[in-house]
């Protein structure tokens, strides 16, 4: 009987000790994985990524807070509106975990300070993340291996499927641990340093060059129009166009759509409809 009680009290003591000790590295990595796995899964119009942010904090919060009351308060704190780019967003997670740990170990960290930090950073971080991860890395990776796919090889899909997650998870892993150990300092280097600007600039240069190269190979637009003169001379319009600038029509098509989008906003369905009408009409008349 006595033995039982000592075991029980020791079991009870354990969480109290954990409260003062720092979180383990694997707890933070676990938070990163939960956020990575579900960042878009539960995404809703109402509060976007709030649910997954809260869910990703559960392994950490469970360790930091002993009473249900404290835990419940912490969970609710992380269910407020949140949305950012999921790869670079890991740095916000890291900082939030550090602040929660400080709060749990008795430092004076208000709820507003934690929420304020999250909402303050989510915009700028999303800007960097969207520009690097989505507008640059993803199309570049796909386009580098696209020729494999158009030649019928599965490598064209397999390589991007492996490399894209590998690279982005690597970035998240570094950022969440940096966020946790360096705190707010970790973002100042991200946001203020010229380094991010350089990376975005380089990515844009590479991305645009690749898009140009692919447009030349894959936008197919030519005219079969020929003019036969009474003298018997035949003029093939496409030959003349090729003499002026090869690929003139595909280039025009891309830029026409681009400048229309730029001027009128993302009216994709209207453009799709126009392409359908033009194609059917031009094919019927024998122009294209």
């Amino acid at each position: 009987m006595d033995n039982m009680t000592t075991v029980q009290t020791e079991a009870l003591k354990e969480p109290a000790e954990k409260k003062t000790s720092r979180l383990e590295k694997k707890d933070i990595t676990k938070a990163m994985w939960i956020y990575y796995l579900g960042a878009e899964l539960s995404n809703s119009y109402e509060r976007l990524q709030s649910l997954i942010f809260c869910a990703s904090m559960t392994p950490v919060l469970k360790k930091l807070y002993d009473t249900d009351e404290e835990l419940s308060k912490a969970l609710k704190r992380h269910l407020v509106f949140f949305n950012t780019e999921g790869t670079f967003g890991a740095v916000i997670q890291g900082i939030a975990i550090m602040m929660e740990e400080e709060k749990a170990t008795g430092k004076d960290v208000t709820d507003d300070a934690i929420t304020g930090l999250k909402t303050g950073l989510m915009g700028p971080i999303a800007g960097i993340g969207d520009a690097i991860i989505w507008a640059a890395l993803m199309p570049i990776l796909i386009s580098i291996f696209l020729p494999f796919a158009s030649n019928g090889s599965p490598m064209g899909g397999l390589l991007p499927l492996i490399l894209y997650p590998l690279i982005t998870i690597g970035v998240s892993y570094v950022l969440i641990h940096q966020g946790y150990t360096l705190g707010k300092k970790s973002v100042t280097s991200l946001l203020n340093g010229g380094k991010m600007q350089s990376i975005i600039f380089s990515a844009n240069v590479i991305g645009l060059t690749m898009m140009g190269a692919l447009s030349a190979s894959y936008v197919k637009l030519s005219t079969p129009l020929t003019f036969v003169f009474s003298s018997g001379n035949k003029i093939v319009l496409q030959d003349i166009l090729n003499l002026i600038v090869p690929g003139l029509l595909p280039l025009l098509a891309v830029f026409l759509i681009y400048f229309y989008l730029k001027k009128r906003g993302p009216r994709y369905n209207l453009i799709l409809g126009t392409i359908v009408v033009i194609s059917v009409a031009a094919a019927f008349l024998g122009i294209l």
């Binding site: 649910l51 759509i257 392409i275």
Partner: protein, 248 residues
């Protein structure tokens, strides 16, 4: 593989890729060029699957990159319908691309439905948070949206693929030549929309000369994509070295 198991497999694939399990993993999984691998394995015609996948990919190259995660068009629905149907009806890639477009548009509404219904789970999580139920919150973040997602996603692709095979095959035999040619023209122009959207997403008008360099390097010098990537990377590095950067 006969049509029924194929339609079931494609329905499951569409659900799973659109589940978005794994932030960047799933976003690659739902690209036509990856769907092509799956269809290639199922149908045994890897070459045509990948070619249609590649063509379709170009139309949707910039689509997933829109800030805020809103989809203007759904490459996964387009791919899960057009690639298997295109392979079974032995279509030219350009024709299959044209076939895909209406489904890409339809997919947007499906995603809006998902994001609206997902609000249910946030409210559920609010209650779990009140009870300090961390397990419940994880269920609300993963399990419940996944189950509802299946109900929303699976039937669409299953029905279209199951009923579509015969319809498409019949269509291919009765369609007049000029109309068939118009699909080829469409399939040739549609990638231009994909590139234009990607240019929009990159959003650096001042850097457009790089696009033109890439375009004519292929037109005049016949460089392949990998060579172009190498030159582009070196150019970017050198420009950084000389600190020639745009202001902003």
């Amino acid at each position: 593989m006969s049509v029924l198991p194929l339609a079931i497999s494609m329905g499951i694939y569409y659900w799973f890729s659109r589940l978005r399990l794994g932030y960047t993993f799933s976003s690659m999984l739902l690209q036509p060029v990856v769907i092509g691998i799956f269809v290639g394995i199922l149908t045994g015609n890897m070459a045509l699957s990948m070619q249609i996948g590649a063509g379709l990919q170009l139309v949707y190259l910039g689509v997933t990159s829109t800030p805020g995660g809103n989809v203007p068009s759904d490459p996964a629905l387009a791919g899960c319908v057009a690639i298997p149907l295109g392979v079974l009806a032995n279509m030219k890639p350009e024709v299959a691309i044209s076939l895909a477009i209406p489904f890409g548009v339809l997919g947007v509404f499906v995603d809006q439905l998902r994001r609206s219904t997902n609000a249910i789970w946030v409210h559920m999580a609010d209650r779990y948070a009140e009870q300090a139920n961390t397990k419940g919150i994880l269920m609300a973040a993963f399990l419940f949206p996944a189950l509802l997602g299946f109900v929303i996603r699976f039937p669409i692709v299953f029905v279209i693929d199951y009923l579509g095979v015969d319809a498409v095959k019949t269509f291919m035999t009765v369609v007049p030549t000029w109309l068939m040619h118009s699909f080829e023209v469409m399939g040739g122009i549609l990638p231009a929309l994909g590139f234009a959207i990607t240019l929009m997403v990159i959003g650096k008008k001042k850097l457009l000369p790089f696009f033109i360099i890439g375009f004519f390097a292929v037109q005049y010098l016949k460089l392949d994509t990998m060579a172009m990537a190498i030159f582009a990377i070196c150019t970017a590095l050198l420009l950084n070295l000389f600190k020639i950067k745009e202001e902003a």
